[in-house]
Symmetry: C2
Subunit: 554 residues, 2 copies
């Protein structure tokens, strides 16, 4: 889009939105505020002021290693105070923090390192095995910096050359003049892994992360009175930008270190002791946490606390349970690596209290929320035509704004994931209601595009399993010479019903809800539905298997 120049301002418009200003501000106004970081055997506790002293040393240590403005520095670490220091020290120095997702496969992880061209990798002692598994493939890496309390000589590793984080910090001087970085310079990079192809790189600018932090502070209503716990991996979309937002607000920050869903007792205990009032995580953490709390004799008092829950829709039982047992509000948050991530946060507007029953309100709370100020959103039909916000029309969800990626780094062929007017295509199908609440209805790739119209595979699967004889079902689109795609259904019949149900019975059942043209051309009775390793229907496997059934025939 063409940018039109108006009358010149006298403002300091060249003053750069540089992330190092966030921590400088926190130290200046809230220097005494604490960062509490769990580590094996206890808590590490210091202040923003203390952290900043080490951040300055870290930047000087990077220069000492030969790191230059624009270099990419990989980080393999848990949610610790050292990650926090790297969150500011690496980008502050002018380098880019490359977030390394320790759950990726070694080939994906080494692809990320090579593709980004990381020159150094900072790795926690406990993650050395992962680093060692990719080291031979990492062509651009000049050295490995070990995050450990031990002497370097006591650390066992084949990585080479190795440095100790604590030693290079101790040797560096604290005094620094920060580079006046262009706000459009990359602050950090995160690679997104789709179901197909190589991971794709999103390089967030300082401006991007600065304005995203603003959105988190405003929408989570964070302040210096808050204590925020970071239960999102800091290696994924910067832990949803929570440490940056907490710093901007001057909140106390609680970092859980390495934590497991199976053992949340010590985390809950710390949350209680430190008077937590805010946080971010996912149902994968909040569900077992609720189970843990359910068994506690004295329930924690988190009254007024706001926990953002993302990744997937939080069950009503989770939201209600937390509210009833602790007083905390579970707030559904929505986003993606490409959106930094916050593009939807579900706060209930006061006037909705009057319009709806309690049950309806819980249903609204399950929606993906409304977009923060600064983000443009629309839903479009398969032809790209914008659809109304009526809570009914479902289309692909598109986002545009300062913290949305405009491309993937050095990834030819991915341009199709952006519209001509600059929107990123989320791949999610959604409705938006008159109050701007987004409701994801499907993944676009799970929608079947038949003759220019969409058919929801998820809706159809739900309808299929509502038939008393059906145990499981999967619906997917396969290529078709005339209609582009046509739906097919895989159906597992309950053992006791086998042979008693015909394809026509199933189609008649679906016909009560779906138009004739939407009905699957094939109902395939199978013994089992292909599943992924995490138990989801493996649509890709189904599509691969049945890909050819209409092509060149029928």
């Amino acid at each position: 889009m063409e940018i039109i120049k108006g009358f010149p301002s006298t403002s300091q418009d060249d003053y750069q939105l540089n992330m190092i200003n966030i921590i400088r501000h926190a130290v200046r106004n809230f220097g005494k505020q604490q960062i509490v970081s769990r580590k094996p055997g206890g808590l590490f506790r210091y202040t923003y002021k203390d952290a900043y002293a080490r951040i300055k040393r870290l930047a000087n240590a990077l220069y000492g290693l030969g790191v230059k403005i624009g270099d990419r520095i990989g980080v393999l670490e848990w949610n610790t105070y050292r990650y926090y220091e790297m969150d500011f020290g690496i980008p502050g120095s002018g380098a880019v923090l490359l977030q390394m997702n320790l759950r990726l496969s070694p080939p994906d992880l080494s692809f990320v390192v090579n593709h980004a061209g990381a020159s150094f990798i900072f790795v926690d002692e406990t993650l050395i095995p992962i680093a060692e598994s990719i080291a031979p493939q990492c062509k651009t890496v000049k050295g490995w910096v070990i995050l450990t309390d031990k002497e370097l000589g006591d650390v066992e590793t084949k990585l080479s050359p190795v440095f100790s984080y604590e030693e290079i910090l101790a040797e560096a001087k604290e005094d620094i003049e920060w580079p006046n970085l262009d706000e459009k310079s990359a602050y950090a990079a995160c690679y997104t892994t789709g179901t197909t192809g190589n991971p794709k790189g999103v390089f967030y600018s300082h401006r991007n992360v600065y304005l995203h932090s603003v959105a988190v502070v405003m929408n989570m209503e964070l302040s210096y009175r808050d204590c925020l716990i970071e239960l999102v991996p800091m290696f994924h979309a910067m832990g949803w930008g929570m440490p940056q937002a907490a710093t901007m607000a001057g909140s106390k920050l609680l970092l859980p270190g390495r934590y497991e869903a199976v053992d949340l007792g010590p985390i809950v205990e710390t949350m209680v002791n430190e008077n937590v009032t805010a946080g971010a995580g996912a149902p994968a953490i909040f569900m077992p946490m609720l189970e843990y709390i359910r068994k506690m004799d004295v329930k924690p008092n988190f009254k007024g606390a706001r926990f953002a829950s993302g990744a997937t829709e939080p069950p009503v039982a989770l939201m209600k349970g937390f509210y009833d047992m602790t007083g905390a509000e579970i707030i559904h948050a929505y986003g993606a690596t490409e959106t930094t991530p916050l593009v939807g946060l579900n706060r209930l507007k006061p006037w909705l209290n009057e319009m709806y029953t309690e049950e309806q309100r819980w249903d609204i709370k399950r929606k993906q929320g409304y977009p923060p100020v600064g983000i443009d959103v629309k839903i479009v039909d398969p032809e790209g035509k914008e659809l109304p916000w009526d809570g009914k029309s479902s289309g692909e969800l598109l986002f545009r704004g300062p913290w949305i990626t405009g491309s993937y780094y050095n990834a030819p062929g991915t341009e199709t994931q952006f519209t001509a007017d600059g929107y990123w295509k989320s791949g999610d199908a959604a409705t938006i209601d008159e109050e701007a609440y987004i409701k994801i209805t499907d993944r676009i790739k799970d929608l079947i595009k038949s003759g220019g119209e969409w058919i929801s595979s998820v809706d159809m699967e739900n309808e299929l399993v509502s038939h008393p004889a059906v145990l499981e079902a999967a619906v997917t689109g396969v290529s078709h010479p005339k209609w582009e795609e046509r739906p097919i259904a895989l159906v597992v019949i309950r053992p006791e019903q086998k042979g008693k149900v015909s394809k026509e019975d199933i189609l008649a059942h679906l016909g009560k809800k779906f138009a004739k043209w939407q009905l699957p051309d094939e109902i395939l009775f199978v013994d089992a539905i292909p599943k992924t390793s995490v138990g989801k229907i493996n649509k890709k496997a189904i599509r691969d298997k049945y890909h050819d059934i209409y092509i060149g025939g029928k």
Copy 2:
């Protein structure tokens, strides 16, 4: 300062921070939220959605008048919903809203219009006399748009040509494609009037006002649950950016129309009826409001409300009175036209509650507050050397950041009000304590710069009147060939003491507190101290009268 480019990002860094996005967001997420505007005879009430429909018509109406991107449009209006519409419609169209301070003298006001080159002026019917008083001098104005509910034919005016705001809106179409304005384009202009010279123009960019709105929302903690009353004139630094911030937060907005400190009953009544929770004003309004409330049988319940009070330090009695009688917090805010204005807001950090007694806390609350994230601040000595934040060292207060002006529009000779590293010189002398609270101690021009050191005239005046024989005193610096400036003191002796006190007595009294080199070289006994029309010591008159006493002699 050189801007250093780092690694390129993939972010949508060219997405512009355009103020029209603020109202678009408010309509999208909080379209039902109300704007309530007092007018003679009652309340005008509509929603953000309604306002936006008229804002779009306004922009089209401007184009219809021949207004082009970059044109300057003057506005002479009270705090009304029409001003609100112009706040978005004029800059949204690509033009610049020129704020016309209706308290300026006609020569100053016509200077502003001519200097900015306004092409149209929007004027409230009740302010037509002011417009008529300057019209003959306004060379660039092509037309006058009258803000009135009447038919244009029923409005008596000599202004020509005239248009009716309501008529041009009614005739304009609502559909608009907003120009994609460069965020560095001017959004609005405000002229600051010093004690000397012509008014000086500050042209705020869209980026400037956008980021300032963020600062107001974050520091006032505004949300869609708030109802904010605007008790600052909207023609002065955009009413401290409150309508813009309220829109960003989705708050209900209360506009008092034309209001007078002498008759605040109807305002208080509206605040109570509309459940006000936030606001902005000055002691000039809050003091009589408190007096009004003091006489009410049933005190208003403003528990939890936050009222920002600027312009001058709020007396403790005011803050305490409001808190005790209504539950509202008066929050001292600090800034200037050149700073949009917010550069200090006084929220009491929780840990200060434990460190200080209640009385000490009230003293802290009188300070000018700490700067929001995004603003650089320092205090410097007369040589420009930065001073420590110890709550004791006093120096000139300098500001730098996205919502600080970097120059005055077309005003040769004003470059000296900026430092080489891009700070604007506030002209205020201040201390900053370890918690970043700013405390104004003096105006720099009331400081005497002698031999590279500062002498506080206010401190010295206070010491002089503490002498039992002294009725009044004024201290000012006058030019000196060797020391640059030297202090002189004008002293009025109480009638009954006349002739009984010598200059030496006075100097001996001052000598108890001041160093020898700081003592005035002249103690001039006078019958009266020159005063300004508002009763302040007229330092300028004194300096003018005694300007020459050291030059070319002594």
